[in-house]
Assembly symmetry: C2
Homo-oligomer: 197 residues x 2
DNA sequence: CTTGACAGTAAACGTTCGTTCACCTATAAT
DNA sequence: ATTATAGGTGAACGAACGTTTACTGTCAAG
């Protein structure tokens, strides 16, 4: 068996394990890996797993149980548009990340919200976009926040100058808001997501 | 023990299991759940797991092994800004989803790219934004695509009229591109992500 | 030609797993 | 007052798990 064939087979096996993990939400057992890879002996699987562990494709607990390594993450990160494009070297296994990990620091205090108005469209937040909001982060001046002003919820820039608080829309057609009595800030917008299909 | 206390304890246990899953990338075993929850008997854990299964917090394989249910997902989905805000009923366990699942259909053929120019800023795609690109999806007219025109990579709207193909920027300050010889389309932009902090 | 590394089969082993049984004790409902 | 029901202890059991040892064949390099 030639070298290329061996590498391709390894990649196919990694892909199988990754697919398994993404579809089922757990790592396959040794026998399941054996089944997918067409390996009858558990020892062969054992050696394969050790190799994949060195490749950081997967890892192990302090208890020795399999946990995902690089395959946990679903998206490969490539370069910049209009700054050259990684054409040949696409097939790297490395440099992947999970969007959940990237965008959500505190799952417990984070939620998602659909944007409906045009008041932030100049900041690239359009109606239909989803914003990811963290309730626990302390809002600072300049942040985009979800706020309740006079019993209505809006998304705006937060402008803080001492005790003077203003909510500023990105769209100049809308007017800045000075809360009359109370200003409740539901959370800080940590990310924006737009889905095309 | 009163009703409220029991519910709170259940919620705390669900949170513990969710945290375990998010930190380790796998579901805890029965004994590990027992350890976290302060339960000494495996039977008690067994009953707890069955209850959580009915609550769709977790699920089981066809092999009977634990897989995450609603806790797999990290973000709760709430309503719309400027359409009322779920104030009291926040603490729902339901209606959560994983951003990976939401944004990535085919992990194998999907990658991420950072945008650098202003050519799509009118479509809400600003420099610094990340676009999620699927190589396998067939590009249709109206899609935003990553394309190589005359050995340069760009992000543009795809306009197809029969054999007549044009790449149209969203920003009117940029001019549409008619590829002279070859047009390679690297993939279709399926989502845009902007991270604030 | 020989040697060493690699990939696999096969069998055996102790551990841990999830399940089940019997029993107990509070709370909530009748 | 009595009865269900929910939540828990403790022990036992077979099945599945990951690991280990011993052996085999197949290339590639010396």
């Amino acid at each position: 068996m030639t070298k290329d064939l061996r590498e391709n087979r390894l990649k196919a096996r990694i892909r199988d394990i990754a697919d398994f993990y993404h579809h089922k939400g757990r790592m396959p057992s040794f026998s399941e890996i054996g089944g997918m890879a067409g390996i009858k002996s558990k020892n062969a699987v054992y050696k394969l797993v050790n190799k994949l562990e060195k490749l950081k494709v997967l890892a192990r607990d302090e208890r020795g149980r399999l946990i995902p390594g690089s395959i946990a993450s679903s998206v490969k990160i490539l370069g910049t548009v209009e700054a050259g494009f990684p054409g040949a070297a696409e097939e790297e296994l490395s440099d992947t990340l999970s969007l959940d990990d990237l965008l959500v620091k505190n799952p417990q205090s984070t939620f998602m919200l659909k944007v409906s108005g045009y008041s932030m469209s100049e900041a690239g937040i359009l109606p239909g976009d989803m914003v990811i909001v963290d309730k626990k982060q302390a809002p600072k001046s300049g942040d985009i926040v979800i706020a309740e002003v006079d019993s209505e919820w809006t998304i705006k820039y937060l402008d803080k100058k001492g005790d003077d608080v203003t909510l500023i829309p990105a769209n100049p057609k809308f007017t800045p808001i000075k809360p009359k009595k109370e200003l409740k800030i539901a959370g800080v917008v940590t990310a924006v997501i737009r889905k095309y299909r």
